[in-house]
Symmetry: C2
Subunit: 211 residues, 2 copies
């Protein structure tokens, strides 16, 4: 749902209002940037995350003052941006990117108890689908060292830029190429951990991680 | 240069102090997330950018209240994060990412006059090396619609995570694969703008954009 402060005003034609389209963007990225104000400075931190229905989940260290502030409900902004390509126009002014982005405003709540392990499962499965059943369950001391935060998807905006160049008519008769160049993300060859003590094959689910 | 508020405390062994290493990270990405406080909320905006020596440069619309606030010197944080891979450990707690990140704190200054066009050239050449000579020079009305901001690289931190999994000794005798999976960025096939009015070949410098 948009509010006055999440209404897309710049390039409003790129705004996306459908929660399913928003979720598709959130589900396609592994990285968000989350903010928190500390002593007047708006820090921006990269975080891994997951999505559980209408909330995003991420975690940090209990030793981090910034994460503790988020756990106490400090106002935050959670932004996910996927760069899909370069938009190569005939002027610098019209040159741009193809992208998909989501911005969420609000306040986080800390998750505790059984829900905390379930939230860690959601984050792990978002990053590494299929992995949760192979990793050892969290230890009490690991859970104690980890803050797990939930941010509701109630106040948000999303934008998708995927159009061809929108050049000024004065530029169309010049003999300059214009178009777009897709940016693709893929995975390289696996590297075994140096401390593998027995011959173990990489699991089949790794193959599903390629977007 | 680090300050008390940019000293890396979490995973301090991943901290990078060399300005050349910092610049290599900044030069390898096309996307930053920049923050600005508006009415108590720390907004996080994705921006394209460039680097000119010891400052980063980015632009926004003069119609954006948030960018006007940055131009007036509001405190900001400028964060660049490159995801280089998935770190697949034997516990969720040790599972992580390979990444390179830079965080810059400070206040921006607006760039005007001849330096403004030069800054736009720097940003364009960062995103699309070789392109500036092919695009039409900025019009006065385009320059009037654009805020170009410079943020000095005086207070910053950088981190690089590229180690193998650091698993708990209790997990090393389990028959579970562990290791890392590199995330690679590449470019897909070009798409011509639909309004190309004459046969024009894509320029040779496009081939250099592949990382």
């Amino acid at each position: 749902m948009t509010s006055d402060r999440t209404t897309v005003r710049r390039l409003a034609e790129k705004s996306v209002d459908d929660p399913a389209a928003r979720n598709a963007i959130l589900d396609a990225s592994r990285l968000a940037h989350v903010s928190v104000i500390d002593d007047g400075t708006p820090f921006v931190l990269p975080v891994a995350y997951g999505r559980d229905g209408d909330q995003v989940l991420f975690h940090g260290s209990t030793a981090s003052r910034l994460f503790r502030s988020l756990a106490e409900g400090a106002p935050t902004c959670f932004t996910v941006t996927l760069l899909d390509g370069l938009l190569v126009a005939r002027s610098a002014f019209e040159s741009s990117m193809h992208y998909r982005s989501v911005m969420v405003l609000g306040s986080c709540a800390a998750i505790d108890g059984d829900a905390k392990v379930e939230a860690l499962r959601t984050i792990t499965e978002h990053l590494m689908p299929g992995r949760w059943d192979d990793v050892r369950s969290p230890l009490a001391k690991e859970l104690a060292a980890t803050l797990v935060l939930a941010l509701p998807l109630t106040e948000w905006s999303a934008k998708v830029g995927n159009s061809p160049p929108d050049d000024n008519p004065i530029d169309l008769d010049t003999a300059v190429w214009a178009g777009s160049v897709p940016i693709l993300t893929t995975f390289g060859p696996l590297t075994d951990a140096p401390d593998l003590r027995m011959p173990v094959e990489p699991p089949a689910y790794l193959k599903t991680w390629i977007p």
